[in-house]
Symmetry: C2
């Protein structure tokens, strides 16, 4: 079996997972350092989803790192299927959270009421951008693994 870069157990996959963990952690941090996030449904949703994505990405980063070290990538179709489906569900949820956050931030910035101190709002915006990056990397992982799946 030829090694597909980006699939489970390669160093490219390890980088992807590490990127996901970093981006989702920074999204969570930027969002929750301002303590007002719980007054908006969309921001609470983002925090919840990031709380799911971080352990998932971190665990898979550990698995990938271990696989790279012992040079024995995972090739069981069952496990790969779980990883693809999990990645896909989490990337969908991340996209939903990122879009909700982005649209709420946009509304807060452009509404005439004085809802949002500029410092807080730019922090929310960075959080949404980080969530989009995390979505993109998670999607890439899912697609690489899906590509590998039929050849097993």
């Amino acid at each position: 079996m030829d090694e597909l870069p980006g699939s489970v157990g390669t160093s490219a996959s390890f980088s992807l997972r590490l990127g996901q963990a970093i981006f989702s952690s920074s999204s969570l941090l930027f969002m929750s350092l301002g303590v007002e996030f719980y007054s908006y449904t969309a921001f609470c949703y983002l925090v919840t989803i990031m709380g799911l994505v971080i352990p998932w990405s971190f665990t898979l980063a550990l698995v990938d790192g271990y696989s790279v070290l012992v040079k024995c990538p995972i090739r069981q179709p069952g496990i790969l299927m779980i990883i693809v489906v999990g990645d896909w569900i989490l990337s969908t949820l991340t996209l939903a959270a990122a879009c909700s956050t982005a649209s709420v931030v946009d509304l807060l910035l452009h509404s005439h009421g004085n809802f949002c101190p500029p410092k807080l709002c730019s922090r929310y915006r960075i959080s949404a951008i980080m969530a989009f990056f995390s979505w993109f990397l998670s999607l890439a992982s899912s697609l690489f693994n899906l590509w590998l799946l039929p050849s097993l």
Copy 2:
């Protein structure tokens, strides 16, 4: 080749496409009958995406209806690939639009300012729900066709 229900050229696929066209049209109508939608970025985005989804679903519904009538389903991998990718991109965009709309509606309903007359807001909410239904059906089409793809 056994017929997979839901893939291109079956009557199940025809129903799915028809459902997508109906839900996205009603989402567009509910959104644009109130003339204030262009003051919110998320609502403009929803209208744009629905304007893409409606012709796509309608065309594929026609193709499916024709295939069912002449009993000759499409089985070219290239065309199927285009349909899968197109469906997938449009379903992602629809999900993003639906989430943005839903979160903005939620914010408008629960903010203390008097932004949103109840009649308009419930119309926006119905529009977001219709967009979610359209996303779900579009995703189902995409998955059914993806399932068929490796067997060609």
